[in-house]
Amino acid sequence: MPEEKTGTAADPFEAFRKLRDSYLEGMSKVMIETVNTEEYAQATGALLNNYVTVLAPFREAMDKAMAMTLEQFSLPSRQQVMSLAERFTNLEIRLDDMDAKLDHLVELLSAGTPISNSPENGKRAREATPMRHTTGKRQ
């Protein structure tokens, strides 16, 4: 095997690496073309839909059983906890808006500007988008 002038041995795996890289490059092109076909999209879609369909009855049974168990133990259901979390978020939004209004009032007081006549006051009140209760309806 040829050796470089520095005395370092040539890498015996270099040829293998080149072969490996060429093979992977070729495979990559083939796979990219494959995943871009309608057939692949159809196959993965069918796989996912089948998985979800097969899962559905088990999920429903599990949800019902869990709801009954939680009710028996007087514990809140998942839906109730989620609803509570949504309400917390809405409260948080209100608090954030109040915090911003307070900051603005403090700013106006510091500047000695009369609060009722401040044009900024109306603008700030309009700045925060009204809180919306999500209904889950699709657009």
Binding site: R17, R20, D21, L24, M27, S28, M31, I32, V35, N36, E38, A41, Q42, T44, G45, A46, L48, N49, V52, T53, L55, A56, R59, R78, V81, M82, S83, A85, E86, T89, E92, I93, D96, D97, A100, D103, E127, A128, T129, M131, R132, T134, G136, R138, Q139
Partner: protein, 355 residues
């Protein structure tokens, strides 16, 4: 004897490689290390302000807020010390803020783009303006963050947005033949309602698989072969480790927002067509008047360049620029050449517009 020594050396090298590989696969790199302080929260969202390193008189008066996608951590913008976009910008004198969307829970499955663009972003910006004392600001949106920032900029053009930087923005979905995701999520094949009914939020593992399946050999095989070849190079190893830590930190996307992404964007291209309604209001791109830098990754297979090219003629801005960079969706900002190309360009463009 010489052969025995050589064999012993080979085993030592192999052993070291295996130890390094084990460390990479079983530990997480320290990412997102640039010092910051939490200044605002709402639900799971957090707004951070990065600690300035320059005195106030040397800093740009216009702060910048960074907004990333909804299904990955924004720590990609602050990957590791010495190779961090955030660190770079803070060092250049920008007052940098980062909006971290957090991880949605089951209770967030109804969150839609309207919530992010009209509830979260305006309040985060309000806080940023209060803390910075600035009336105007810059915004950088990357990937789905670019969709959110574009919608926000068009719906609320009077909030003080001066400069908008869009990175690999998936805004135009008209070229359906060139968009693999559009093919996979076509209504003929992908029943989004049954998937979201089953899971609530879109599972992160599915989104991650989808992104990797665009180039399956690269992502599942070549990536690891290249790592094996470079295990004795500490720079490559640490870069790989930090990127892999970020890539594997996956979490779900809010179901409502995911459904909107597929139906309103991928299937119906409503934003570019001027048909997108957010909370009853049509998103009129002509109302977007901020200065815009549109950064396009020429090698992007997740958001091909065609998805970002159509936006500039649609908006009302007069100061616009397209900047094309060699590289991929993430690579243009987090890759080895980002500090030589993308970051300096964003910096120079913003610097001219942040006084």
């Amino acid at each position: 004897m010489a052969e025995a020594v050589s064999l012993s050396n080979d085993w030592t090298v192999l052993n070291e490689k295996l130890v390094t590989l084990n460390r990479l696969m079983t530990t997480k790199a320290a990412i997102g290390q640039t010092p910051k302080e939490l200044i605002w929260t709402l639900n799971k969202a957090k707004l951070y302000r990065y600690v300035p390193v320059l005195p106030a008189q040397e800093r740009f008066p216009i702060p910048i807020i960074l907004i990333f996608a909804l299904m990955n951590r924004p720590t990609i913008m602050d990957l590791r010390p010495g190779h961090s976009f955030v660190e770079h910008m803070v060092g250049k004198g920008y007052d940098v803020y980062l909006l971290d969307w957090g991880v949605p829970g089951p209770e967030d499955s109804k969150l839609k783009f309207e919530n992010y663009t009209l509830d979260y972003i305006p309040r985060a910006i309000r806080k940023m303006k209060a803390v910075s004392g600035a009336k105007e600001f810059s915004m950088l949106g990357w990937c789905i963050g670019a969709i959110l920032t574009t919608i926000y900029a068009a719906l609320r053009p009077d909030d003080g947005l001066r400069n908008l930087v869009l990175l690999t923005a998936p805004l135009d979905f008209s070229n359906r033949e060139g968009l693999t995701f559009a093919r996979w999520t076509d209504e003929k094949y992908f029943d989004i309602d049954s998937v979201l009914a089953a899971f609530g939020n879109m599972p992160g593992e599915m989104i991650d698989f989808g992104a990797k399946a665009l180039k399956p050999v690269e992502n599942y095989i070549t990536n690891y072969c290249k790592l094996w070849d470079s295990l004795d190079d500490p720079r490559v190893v640490e870069a790989w480790h930090s990127m892999n830590t970020w890539v594997t930190d996956i979490f779900p996307m809010a179901g409502g927002a995911y459904r909107q992404l597929i139906v309103d964007f991928y299937r119906n291209n409503r934003l570019i067509k001027g048909e997108l309604k957010i909370r009853g209001q049509v998103v009129d791109l002509k109302r977007l008047r901020a200065n815009v830098l549109n950064v396009i990754a020429e090698g992007d297979h997740i958001t091909p360049p065609c998805q970002s090219e159509a936006i500039l003629p649609k908006i009302g801005s007069t100061d616009t620029e397209i900047y094309r960079v060699p590289g991929g969706h993430i690579g243009i900002m987090a890759g080895s050449a980002a500090h030589k190309r993308t970051w300096p360009h964003i910096d120079s463009w913003l610097a001219a517009r942040s006084r």
